[in-house]
Structure formats: structure tokens, C-alpha cells
């Protein structure tokens, strides 16, 4: 399938999200601090509409009982079972990695173009 225009970049400011048609259950477009990414709206865990989940941060730890809040705005939590995925790569936080499928995105002449 050829790359196609899905929406205007103006309609997707930083921190924004749009669900558009495509793939198995649609695609989610996210503007993560200026970078636009496109993820399949299908969670690799159990098929949930993952792109409708919360965009948030997560916790990291170097010792027991320590939970540092990090990566605000970079993490997508699936709305069903809460799996955490990096928006920019589609990869889960945990190992072994499970990944949401991602698509190549470019911005041309004010349009977001997705190659799905």
C-alpha cells in the first residue's frame, strides 16, 4: 500500500493523539514532543485498542522500594491490561519485549504521511 496522507500536522500538536483508519483496528498518531509516530491500534497482548490508552510516564528503580517517575509523555498504557509501551518504538517496557506495530511517518507539505 502506498504512503498516504492521514491528517494535517496542525491537527496534531505536541502531546496530541488521533485515531485514523487503517490496519486491523485503526492507527494511532501521536505527537511526542514534536516527533510524530504511528502505532497500530492493536495490542500484541490481547488485541485491545491500545492507542486509546493513557499517555503517561512510568517508574524506574535501582533498589527495592524505590520508584522514580520518569519519561512522562513517552509511555502508552494499554487501556485493557495496562501494558506499557514506548510510544516512539512501540516496544514494551519489560523484557522479553512485546511490540505494538509501528509505521513509517513523514511530514510533507503540512501533511502527516503514513506508510502502512
Amino acid at each position: 500500500m502506498a504512503p498516504r496522507r492521514v491528517c494535517r500536522i496542525d491537527d496534531l500538536p505536541p502531546g496530541g493523539r488521533k485515531i485514523v483508519d487503517g490496519g486491523r483496528r485503526g492507527l494511532g498518531l501521536f505527537n511526542v514532543g514534536g516527533t510524530v509516530v504511528a502505532l497500530s491500534n492493536y495490542c500484541p497482548h490481547a488485541g485491545a485498542p491500545v492507542c486509546r490508552g493513557g499517555v503517561t510516564g512510568t517508574t524506574e528503580s535501582e533498589r527495592r522500594y524505590e520508584a522514580k517517575w520518569v519519561r512522562q509523555g513517552e509511555i502508552l498504557r494499554c487501556p485493557w491490561h495496562g501494558w506499557e509501551f514506548e510510544l516512539k518504538t512501540g516496544r514494551s517496557i519489560t523484557r522479553p519485549f512485546r511490540s505494538v506495530q509501528t509505521y513509517q511517518v513523514t511530514v510533507e507539505e503540512g501533511w502527516i504521511v503514513v506508510d502502512d
Binding site: 490481547a46 488485541g47 493513557g54 503517561t56 498504557r77 487501556p79 485493557w80 491490561h81 495496562g82
Partner: protein, 376 residues
């Protein structure tokens, strides 16, 4: 989204739109004081948030199941769409969770009564033109006379197919004071579903203390069911009530296989004080205990579950469930894929059809006819 198989979802949670809606169904017989207490307390009842991060990040609810207004599970149109259209469910057995265990058993009984009247008036009638919902009669074991009265009232009413009790009672299920409740259910051919409710205090106490995290507490649902299963078996209640069926909801499935063996071993070794048993415990369990599938046990390789299914006799014991609208929702297509092909139909709809005495489905083009038969 719908699969080829009919699906009966045996664990769906409707909620009233508000405390006022629920309490408007409270019968006058409970008096003004109880009504007043419940009105001031109901919206502030504790227990849900006692564990940090309980229910993943979404407070226990599927993130995309939150209605525009009203609590999750209170919008019949949203529920219809997400369950029947998107998930491919054909029938849903409703288990209201309006009740938290309360210190005063009379308060519990009052809430049960309100819940049953509300369910009868809304989800089993006004919201049920399509005839897809069936419901549970919620009762409080610790007020057995009132519980029996509720069962007698609703057993013959349209749409009620089982009795629902929490596993948090003041004693184990074979306690003599509870027998009339189980007897009434069995007499009316109504299974008894036991479903965990949110709680706090001593009900959270495990045999080795209070746990710290939801990660530890969630598997403990299972630990809350098997004492009651053992109690009903070893206490001879299943023997005295051959028509009694117990449904353990949301407790997982694979545990029942080794547990059946355990009870058989200990019955053989120390069974002298169990004079009521005529058969091995496992036989009662296989015939009279049922388990809903959600959350379906998740070994890294789903086939690792298969031996347990074989050992327990899963073909007759398991009932598909989704737990809509909760966070660990099991989508039917995804869950059924993880089960052996030769028991999918049984688990998806045949076992529930038999247990709840639902009309047989027509399976013409493997899809339900649009006009369901009349309610039982």
C-alpha cells in the same frame, strides 16, 4: 470482531447510574434509619483503593469502557455495543457488585434487596428488549432468612438464573446457618455464584498476615474460594443437595485440578469425620463446581494449561467469562483461542446453556438468530 462460536459471558458487571438510583429501590421494610445511613455512606464506601495501583493504572476499569456519564458499567448502550457488537458475546450473565461486606448484616441485606429490585427493573427488563441479559439474585449469607426470602421472590421472575454470594462470609459455606440459603437455591435449580468483592480489614487478612501489594492480593482471590469449595464438599452439603451447583468467579481455573486431588488424598487418609460423603471429593467437584474462565490462567505457553484442563474435566466445568468492564477483561476470541479446540464450544456456550437452563441456541450459520427465544 465476533467469532463463529456463540458466546455466553458468565461474568458481567452492571452498575447503577448513581447511589440515588440504587437506593430508590430500597424497600420501606428496612426503615428510615437504614435508608438514611446508606444514602450518606454509599458513595463514600471504602475498600476499592486500599491497594496502591489496584487494577493496573485505570482504577480497576477497562480504559475504553468508561461512559460519558455515570460509573463504568452503568450505560446499557455502551455495554451492549462493547459486549455484543465488538466482543461477539451473545448472552451475558449479570453479577452486580453493588455490595461491599459491611459490619452490620442488616445493611448488607438492605443493599441486596435494593440491588435485586433495581436489576429486575432495569437490566432485566427496561434495558433488555433484545433479551440477551440474565441476572443473579444477590443475597447476604449472614442474614439467611432474608436471603431465602429474596431467592423465593426472584426465583420465578424473568431473567434471574442464579444466586450470587460473596466469598467473604463470617463462616465457611457449610456452616449450618447458611444451609437454608443453599437449599433454597438448589430447590429452585439456581446455581450459586461466589464472586469476590472489594473489601478491607480482616477480610484482607491472609493466614500469614496482610500483604503489601495488589500483585500479591489478586492471586489471593483463588485462596478465598477453595476453603468454601472444600467446606461444601467435606461438609456434605453437595451430598445433601445434589442439585446444588457452585460457580467460582474470577478465581482462575487450573487450581481446581490439584485441589481435587488434595481433597481426595486427605479424605482417604483422614475421612472418618466426614460421614456424609458417599463419593470421593473430586466427584462432587467435577459435577457440582464450575469455574468462570477470566482471567484465564496465563502460562508463557498456553498449551501448558492443557494438562490441567484434562485433569479437571474442563469440558464440563468451565464457563467463559469476560469480567466486563474490569481492567483484566478477557476478549472472547482471544481467550477461546488459548483453549483446546475440542472444548471450546463447551466452554463458550454449551456448559452455560446447560447450567443456567437457557434455551438451546440455533446454530444455523454459526451465529445467533436476531430474535432470541423468550426468557426462562
Amino acid at each position: 470482531m465476533a467469532g463463529l462460536e456463540p458466546v455466553i459471558d458468565c461474568d458481567v458487571h452492571p452498575y447503577p447510574r448513581s447511589a440515588q438510583e440504587l437506593l430508590s429501590y430500597l424497600p420501606n421494610t428496612f426503615g428510615a434509619t437504614i435508608a438514611q445511613t446508606l444514602e450518606t455512606w454509599y458513595d463514600k464506601r471504602p475498600g476499592a483503593g486500599v491497594f496502591t495501583g489496584s487494577g493496573a493504572a485505570t482504577g480497576g476499569i477497562r480504559g475504553d469502557a468508561i461512559p460519558v456519564s455515570g460509573p463504568p458499567g452503568s450505560d446499557p448502550e455502551l455495554t451492549d455495543r462493547q459486549l455484543f457488537d465488538e466482543a461477539g458475546v451473545d448472552r451475558a450473565i449479570l453479577i452486580p457488585l453493588t455490595l461491599n461486606p459491611m459490619a452490620n448484616p442488616m445493611h448488607e441485606a438492605a443493599l441486596c434487596s435494593a440491588t435485586n429490585r433495581w436489576l429486575a427493573d432495569t437490566w432485566l427488563s427496561k434495558y433488555n428488549d433484545h433479551g440477551r441479559y440474565r441476572g443473579s439474585i444477590t443475597v447476604s449469607l449472614d442474614m439467611p432468612e432474608l436471603a431465602v426470602a429474596e431467592i423465593e421472590t426472584y426465583a420465578m421472575q424473568e431473567g434471574f438464573v442464579q444466586v450470587s454470594v460473596p466469598p467473604i462470609a463470617r463462616s465457611q459455606y457449610s456452616a449450618p446457618q447458611y444451609f437454608p440459603v443453599f437449599e433454597a437455591a438448589a430447590r429452585h435449580g439456581l446455581p450459586v455464584a461466589s464472586h469476590t468483592v472489594r473489601t478491607l480489614g480482616m477480610a484482607l487478612l491472609t493466614p500469614v498476615g496482610f500483604v503489601s501489594y495488589y500483585f500479591e492480593s489478586h492471586p489471593a482471590y483463588t485462596l478465598g474460594y477453595y476453603p468454601h469449595v472444600a467446606s461444601l464438599v467435606m461438609g456434605g452439603v453437595f451430598e445433601r443437595l445434589p442439585n446444588l451447583h457452585l460457580v467460582c468467579v474470577e478465581g482462575g481455573v487450573s487450581w481446581i485440578a490439584p485441589f481435587m486431588w488434595r481433597l481426595d488424598h486427605y479424605w482417604r487418609a483422614f475421612g472418618e469425620e466426614l460421614p456424609l460423603l458417599r463419593k470421593p471429593p473430586s466427584e462432587y467437584i467435577r459435577n457440582q463446581v464450575h469455574l468462570t474462565t477470566q482471567p484465564l490462567d496465563s502460562p508463557p505457553n498456553h498449551r501448558d494449561l492443557f494438562p490441567y484442563l484434562e485433569w479437571m474435566g474442563a469440558r464440563q466445568m468451565l464457563l467463559f467469562s469476560s469480567d466486563y468492564p474490569h481492567w483484566d477483561f478477557d476478549d472472547p476470541a482471544e481467550a477461546l483461542k488459548r483453549l483446546p479446540t475440542d472444548c471450546r464450544s463447551d466452554i463458550a456456550w454449551r456448559n452455560a446453556t446447560r447450567l443456567y437452563q437457557l434455551p438451546e441456541f440455533e446454530v444455523a450459520s454459526s451465529k445467533l438468530s436476531p430474535t432470541p427465544p423468550a426468557l426462562r
